[in-house]
Every structure is written in C-alpha cells, then in structure tokens.
C-alpha cells in the first residue's frame, strides 16, 4: 500500500512525461498491483470526457453576438454595426448643432426652391402673381427663419430643443 501511495499520482501520465526511472517503477507496480491497475483503467475510461462535455456545451451555444460584443468593447465595429452607428451619428450631429444646421438647411432649401421657381423652365414657372414678391431671410430668435412672401411672412421654426440645454 505504501508503494501505491507513491505510484498513484503517476497513473494517467502520458508517454514521456515521467522520468525514465519513475516510468519503469510505474510499469512494474501496475504488473503486480491489481488495485492500481483497476484505478488506471478507471482513469483511462473517463479520460477526455471533461473536454468532450465542455466543448459540446460551447458548440451548442449561439456565439453570433460574441465577436461583435468583443469588437465593440475594444473599439472596433462590424461594417454593419458601423453603418448603423454612422447613420445615428449624422442625426445626432444635426440634433446637437441644430442652431447652425437648421438655418443653413432651410436657406439651402429656399434657394433651391427659388432657383427652380425662377429658372426651372416653362412647366414649373408659375404665374407672375404667384411668384415670390421678395425674399428676405431673417434669422429670428435662435433658429427660426422668416420668409417675406407676397402672401405675408412665413416663419420656418427650428425644432424644439430636447436636450434641455
């Protein structure tokens, strides 16, 4: 039994893992000790099952979101996620800078409309009385635009500031 205590931890070793002297002692002991042979057989019977079980569990799990989550944490985004975020970024940027963006956008729309109205060809030219009497762009308050038309002033309002600032 005393030699079993010394030999037992060597059971389950792989070829080449033990010093030659220990490997010889293990082999000699197993030839004479039925209990240790049985122990070695039991260890061998279940060898590899832990890996088999854990890898099977890993393979059964849906890993689709894993890599995107990692990439997001390290600062990289998938092309699809990046496109989604970029679209959001544009809207966010407009929202944050609406005091500048809204008047600029409105002015561009007005200029394009006037240009089309005045020079856009016969099928889009309106009757003279329907034309814009004058164009006076006035920045009113922090973001509104007032257009002076023949029908009176038209106020283009900036969106509400939902940021609370």
């Amino acid at each position: 039994m005393r030699s079993c205590v010394r030999i037992a931890p060597m059971i389950g070793s792989r070829p080449g893992e033990l010093p030659a002297e220990d490997a010889r002692a293990l082999a000699a002991h197993l030839e004479t000790c039925a209990a240790c042979r049985a122990l070695a057989a039991r260890f061998e019977a279940t060898d590899g099952l832990v890996a088999e079980a854990l890898l099977a569990r890993a393979n059964a799990r849906d890993f689709a979101p894993f890599v995107d989550q990692v990439m997001a944490r390290v600062g990289h985004r998938s092309p699809r996620a990046a496109a989604r975020t970029d679209r959001r970024s544009l809207l966010d940027a407009l929202r944050e800078r609406w005091r500048i963006a809204v008047p600029a956008l409105a002015a561009a729309v007005v200029l394009a409309a006037v240009g089309t109205f005045m020079y856009g060809g016969e099928h889009v030219v309106a009757e003279p009385e329907q034309r814009l009497a004058s164009l006076e762009v006035e920045l009113s308050g922090e973001g509104s635009i007032v257009l002076q038309t023949s029908d009176g002033p038209v106020v283009l309002l900036a969106p509400d500031d939902d940021t609370g600032s």
């Binding site: 389950g12 039991r42 260890f43 279940t46 832990v50 890993f63 989550q69 990692v70 990289h76």
Partner: protein
C-alpha cells in the same frame, strides 16, 4: 504542376501570427478572425473553471479584451494559443476567487484512503466492455459538466487545462505556479473526485464507509490540518 513542400504549408500558428500582425497594425478584421477562431475553446475553458454559463461568457469576453490590450506586448516567444489560454486561465481563476467565500482548500497529498475504490469501478467496466460504449461515453459526457461543478476550483482548473488544452505536467506546473509533484497529486485527486461524482450516473449507490474507515480518515484529516 506545382507541389508545395511540407515546410511551405502554413500551420495554424503561422496563421495566428499573421492575424496578430494584422490586428496590431489596426486591422479590425484580423483581430475579429482571432476571436472567432478561439472563442468557443476559451469559453469552454472558462465554463469548466467558473461553472456558470453566463459568467463564463463574460470571462471569455474579458479574456479577448485583455488580449487586444496586450497585443503589442506579445513577443511571439510562445504560441499565440498558449499566451491566450494563459490569460484565460488567470482571468477565470481570478473571477472564481473574487466570488468564492472563504473555504478550506483540500490538500494535494495522496494518502492510503484516497486509493480506495468507492464503487466507481463500474464506470470502467461499463465503458470498457459495453457494446454501446460510444453511446454510453456520449451520455456520460453530458453528465460531466455537473460532476465537474462539484469539484473545488483548483481541481476543476487542473482537469480542464489537462484535457482541453492538453497541457503536460511541466506546462501545468508553469501555468499554475506549482511544483510538478503537486500537479501530479492534484490531478490524481481531481480524477478520483470526478469518478466519485459520476458514480451516481453509473447507478452505484454511495458506499457507506466502515467504522474503521471513518476513524482512520478522521485521523488523517487531523494530520492534514
């Protein structure tokens, strides 16, 4: 016709290093490929050590975040996989130890009482001789996770590293910072405990120890403590 010599065939490690280089230079797809290549195995190692599937997921993510942070420091002296799983082992063990309440660790020494067959011999008989061996092994594998979860952290860890990573005694000693002799005895205890935990599956009732055994084990415990 062109034949490539055996030396020209890229190995998985060559691929890893190429991907590491790409990731280092800021190529996100290079790093993404490394994650995809190793994610399940890292998760399996983490699951074996931390026991909880959701915690293992978080641990596996932390591992890749740390790997990404440390890419510039990876010298290539060991294989990328070795480096990766070294980080995985430490992150998983740290995670368990953070959550673990103080409990008495089992000793690694092997005593005579540890050598007794507590009835789990039926496992080798069934697995070795039954014509449905493959099926039985498959079914038994399904029970392994539950059995593994009954082991103390240090026994789970050493079994997982031995089996999933296939580490040798020397590699286990280096990874865990313990002596090779301790590796061997710890592995022995881990295997014995797995056998005992699987005993229920094999339909073997727990053996009631004889009074003499109880007395002897109590004496041994006093000696260990």
């Amino acid at each position: 016709m062109n034949f490539r010599s055996r030396q020209d065939v890229p190995t998985a490690e060559d691929d890893d290093l190429a991907l590491v280089q790409r990731a280092r230079s800021g190529d996100a797809e290079g790093f993404r490929a490394l994650v995809v290549r190793y994610q399940r195995k890292v998760y399996a190692v983490a699951l074996g050590i931390v026991k909880d599937a959701d915690l293992a997921w978080d641990v596996a993510q932390d591992v890749f975040v740390r790997v990404h942070r440390g890419l510039d420091g990876f010298k290539g002296e060991s294989a990328f996989g070795t480096w990766l799983f070294r980080i995985a082992t430490h992150v998983a063990i740290d995670s368990v130890r953070r959550e673990r309440v103080t409990q008495r660790d089992d000793v690694d020494d092997v005593h005579e009482g540890d050598l007794e067959d507590a009835g789990e011999g039926i496992l080798s008989t069934s697995l070795g001789n039954d014509p449905r061996e493959t099926l039985l092994r498959h079914e038994l594998a399904a029970k392994m996770e539950a059995a593994l979860a009954t082991l103390p952290e240090k026994h789970r860890t050493i079994l997982v590293l031995r089996e999933i990573e296939g580490l040798s005694y020397e590699e286990l000693a280096e990874r865990l910072g313990i002596h090779k002799g301790t590796v061997m005895s710890r592995l022995f205890h881990a295997r014995k405990k797995m056998q005992a935990a699987l005993r229920g599956y094999a339909g073997v009732p727990h053996r009631t120890p004889a009074p003499a055994d109880v007395e002897r084990r109590a004496t041994e415990r006093e000696v260990e403590e």
